[in-house]
């Protein structure tokens, strides 16, 4: 644990130059609390490695470091307490490679890749869309979809943007505001003339609160909106944790091609040019496919099987 603490302190110093919420999270997280919430495996591994280092059995140069870039406040993907499925996948990779895991925390929004991976403060992003241009991507390790989220008691069972009932429902979507672009459901709705019954929830949210994008799912549970159309992993995770039982149904994959897609394959990302590491991760993904799938299942990630060729 000593070793891990030292890593955290190092990150904290660097943290002066990092993004929103870091200071808050740092202040709120005592070491003890982090110990409780870290998976026991990685804690043991850390202690073992720390002991090995302290006792001089291995030199620091021999301990490989797996430096992961991650958002400190965005479940179910990742958080600083290691509670996200991307944290678990990072643990799995570190174990497989016999490496010591460390994080650079940065909110995953504009500037994320530039300030983390490209700034070389870390070497791996656990989740990015396959073919994501700013990075070099591995083989995809899962495919998910946008989903409709409704309260189960309403028994709406929506699966298409062309469902006439949508026109009279209050619909929530994420707002991204990326130079004239928003999340695909927002476009699909406006194409069908649904404007006035659509409510936007900022993907950025208020970063002082935990997991800001989850406000969209909270709004379904609270009855603020009738239906949310959200990215599957986020919806699947929070739907099972809301006070009201929620139903999650995938958006029909055939909606609105070719400009709009609702199914995305997710891969890992490394720095462009880091092909050796990418190849190593590709092999690891193939080797650990079942364990990765288990983690995704544990977190309720809706998965779309690859189309057989």
């Amino acid at each position: 644990m000593y070793f891990r603490s030292r890593k955290m302190n190092f990150n904290s110093r660097e943290g002066d130059f990092r993004s929103a919420g870091n200071a808050r999270l740092r202040a709120r997280n005592s070491g003890a609390r982090r110990q409780e919430t870290l998976s026991s495996i990685i804690t043991l591994k850390s202690i073992t490695l720390a002991l090995l280092l302290l006792t001089g059995w291995i030199s620091p140069a021999e301990a490989r470091e797996l430096r992961v870039c991650a958002d400190p406040n965005n479940l179910p993907f990742s958080n600083e307490r290691g509670e996200g499925y991307e944290n678990k996948i990072a643990d799995l990779i570190a174990r497989d490679l016999g490496a010591q895991l460390s994080y650079t925390w940065w909110a995953q929004r504009r500037g994320f890749v530039r300030n983390t991976l490209r700034a070389e403060s870390c070497d791996l992003i656990i989740g990015v869309p396959a073919g994501y241009d700013p990075v070099l991507t591995t083989h995809p390790y899962y495919r998910s979809t946008y989903v409709f989220v409704t309260r189960r008691e309403r028994a709406l069972v929506l699966d298409s943007f062309d469902d006439p009932r949508l026109k009279t429902l209050r619909i929530g979507v994420h707002l991204i505001g990326d130079d004239g672009v928003n999340a695909p459901p927002a476009h699909a709705l406006s194409r069908r003339g649904m404007i006035t019954n659509v409510v936007g929830y900022s993907i950025y949210g208020d970063y002082r609160e935990p997991n800001p994008p989850a406000r969209l799912i909270d709004a379904v549970a609270s009855g603020e909106i009738d239906v949310a159309i959200a990215w599957g992993p986020l919806a699947g995770y929070f739907a099972s944790r809301e006070p009201a039982p929620l139903a999650v149904t995938p958006v029909a994959a055939s909606a609105d091609p070719p400009a709009l897609r609702f199914v995305f394959a997710i891969a890992m990302g490394v720095r462009k040019g880091d092909t050796a590491f990418r190849d190593e991760l590709n092999q690891l993904i193939d080797r650990r496919r079942d364990q990765i799938k288990q983690i995704l299942d544990d977190y309720g990630v809706p998965q779309i099987p690859e189309i057989a060729r």
Partner: protein, 610 residues
């Protein structure tokens, strides 16, 4: 009379009465010479300059014109570096240095350090520095580099904004903090980058962050205490926008109840943008402040049907109460990210046989607007760059007539969208000389393609992104200085620059125009012909605002901050990858070669004659 400059600082009042007689005589003379405004203006009607520079725009009319005339075309070849000062912050330096008495004040980009330099001593040593220590997290929120556009002086205080949404007043003599007021929340995407304007006892400031779903506002703070006096939102109900019975917009499109709500889908106004990150001017005679609001967001255009008021709008308000007197929406239902925050030059011009009190606005959408500043009527709107996104401004309805073919649409490739998102010109302020009757506009010449689609990812959510690529417009140059005659609505001369001219301009009674380039040149050109008179090689690209002042030794000095950055220079200041054409919202594509021409910096340069 042409080019009368409203200069009404308390320091200037002493010379005011002597000038009144001169002005009256001049007015009479001008009445007889209305057909020849340029030569009339050369009689130099403005009040003599007191040699200070107490706000970024120099005067309330925002002319950035100084009557100092020691430096002229005839002697400028002898202009030499007098001294320099390193700010220690190597990010985009957009601020104007201030000179109050024998002290110079400069405010840096984040972490927004305020330095006081003693001009009465050789080399202008530092008197003190004040560090507001803004929250580091603000850097992750700022859209386009962590710039600051400068401070303002009033009643013994230096007032400026910090990136983490605070306004701070510092004792000009001691550097001690007098008050500090938090006005917004970085965790909601708000930042502050603009320079305050102090009018009477009110400090006027606005927010940045339109891309993040921020709701724009202008806020007045009490200069003495920092307490909020009023806040006018750019969207929402008339009550929130401070629209009351005294609101008399000129055009029908701007008339009606609660248009800040009614011209949006339900509730979209709550996150509608219209941030106030640009310039304010003040007309003491009408007792009106003028400023513009940013673009609407974060919905796409087709998701926010309606005019989306009051985004991309010029407001005229009473500075004491914030009450809106008129508003004119420049780009209703903006499609191209054309913020309406540029400078408003308040000039009195002879137009069609009458002297009109006008507001001249070189706008991001590519037109130079001339508005009656009492009523908001558009007297003319003339293109000053190549425009494809709109056809014209209809003077009857006041409406900008869009070209539907250039509306960005997902899944469609749209080429030659001109001007590109940063507009014909962005924040970089123009100047105006009453001697030449010309406005010196620093601007860019950029178009963009709204291209293919690719996977993007924010906060764990994938989406199909737009690929915006900007590039040089017709002629192949990316920047330009245009000398514009606002009376005859025509270009008189222009200078092409390789990179966007992202610095302000300064014009003096020596008939010299100063500006800087992103490839490290500080230039002086003739105010009448644009002829290059002098240039100096600095250590980094210039995106700041040149100023001039009379030093304690009686000599005229010219000062400018060098340090490339801003939206245009982020490729250098933030170290963007030149291979990523879509970086900096597509601007990086147009600036790929900038890293070969300049490096980061943060140095003040001050020049004088020997």
């Amino acid at each position: 009379m042409p080019g009368k400059v409203d200069t009404l600082t308390s320091q200037e009042k002493s010379s005011h009465s002597a000038c009144t007689i001169f002005r009256a005589a001049l007015s009479l003379w001008l009445l007889l010479n209305l057909n020849n405004p340029i030569s009339a203006a050369s009689r130099e009607p403005s009040a003599p300059d007191d040699g200070q520079w107490i706000r970024p725009a120099h005067d309330f009319a925002s002319t950035r014109y100084s009557t100092l005339n020691q430096i002229t075309a005839n002697n400028i070849q002898q202009l030499k570096l007098a001294w320099t000062f390193s700010t220690g912050v190597n990010r985009g330096q957009e601020a104007a240095p201030l000179v109050v008495g024998s002290t110079m004040y400069i405010v840096t980009p984040y972490p927004n350090i305020l330095y006081a330099l003693d001009l009465s001593k050789p080399g202008a040593p530092m008197k003190w520095k004040y560090e507001p220590k803004p929250a580091a997290a603000a850097q992750g929120v700022a859209c386009c580099d962590v710039v600051n556009r400068g401070a303002a002086y009033g009643d013994g205080k230096i007032v400026f904004n910090t990136l983490d949404v605070q306004t701070v007043a510092v004792d000009a003599a001691s550097g001690k903090e007098i008050w500090k007021t938090k006005l917004g929340e970085i965790n909601k995407g708000e930042t502050m980058t603009m320079a305050p304007l102090i009018v009477k006892n009110n400090v006027l400031v606005g927010n940045s962050g339109g891309e993040m779903g921020v709701r724009g506002w202008l806020t007045a703070l009490d200069l003495g205490t920092g307490k909020i006096v009023w806040r006018a939102y750019s969207t929402g109900s008339d009550k929130d926008v401070l629209i009351g019975s005294g609101f008399k917009p000129f055009y029908k499109m701007d008339q009606g109840k609660d248009l800040g709500v009614a011209t949006w889908p339900p509730e979209a106004w709550k996150i509608g943008g219209g941030t106030v990150w640009g310039w304010l001017s003040y007309d003491p005679k009408l007792d009106l402040i003028y400023y513009g609001t940013g673009n609407p967001g974060p919905w796409n255009a087709e998701q926010r049907p309606g005019d989306n008021k009051w985004t991309a709008t010029i407001f005229a308000r009473k500075p004491g109460t914030g009450e809106a007197v008129w508003a004119y929406q420049l780009s209703p239902h903006d499609l191209h990210d054309y913020d309406g925050v540029n400078e408003n030059l308040l000039l009195d011009l002879p137009l069609k046989g009458q002297t009109r009190s006008v507001l001249v606005r070189p706008e991001r959408n590519g037109y130079i607007y001339v508005l009656d500043r009492a009523t908001g009527e558009v007297l003319s709107a003339t293109p000053f760059v190549h425009i494809t996104t709109s056809k014209n401004v209809d003077l009857k309805s006041g409406r900008l007539i869009y070209n539907d073919e250039k509306q960005p649409q997902l899944g469609k490739v749209i080429r030659e969208v001109c001007p590109a998102s940063p507009g014909a010109k962005d924040w970089q302020p123009s100047s105006y000389s009453p001697r030449t009757g010309l406005i010196y506009i620093p601007h860019q010449n950029l178009c963009m393609d709204f291209e293919s689609i690719e996977a993007n990812y924010i906060a764990g959510t994938p989406f199909v992104g737009a690929n915006v690529r900007m590039y040089a417009g017709p002629g192949g140059h990316r920047g330009e200085i245009t000398a514009w005659d606002p009376v005859n609505a025509r270009r008189v001369w222009s200078i092409k620059e390789n990179f966007p001219v992202w610095s302000g301009t300064l014009v003096t009674a020596g008939d010299v125009v100063f500006y800087g380039t992103m490839d490290n040149w500080f230039k002086a050109v003739g105010a009448r012909d644009g002829k290059l008179l002098w240039q100096f090689r600095v250590d980094s690209g210039i995106i700041g605002q040149p100023v001039t002042y009379r030093g304690p030794d009686g000599k005229q000095y010219v000062a400018v901050l060098a340090g490339v950055g801003g939206w245009s220079g982020a490729i250098v200041a933030a170290g963007l990858d030149p291979r990523d054409a879509s970086a900096a919202l597509g601007f990086a594509n147009a600036m790929k070669d900038l890293p070969q021409h300049t490096t980061k910096g943060g140095t003040l340069y001050v020049f004088s004659l020997p």
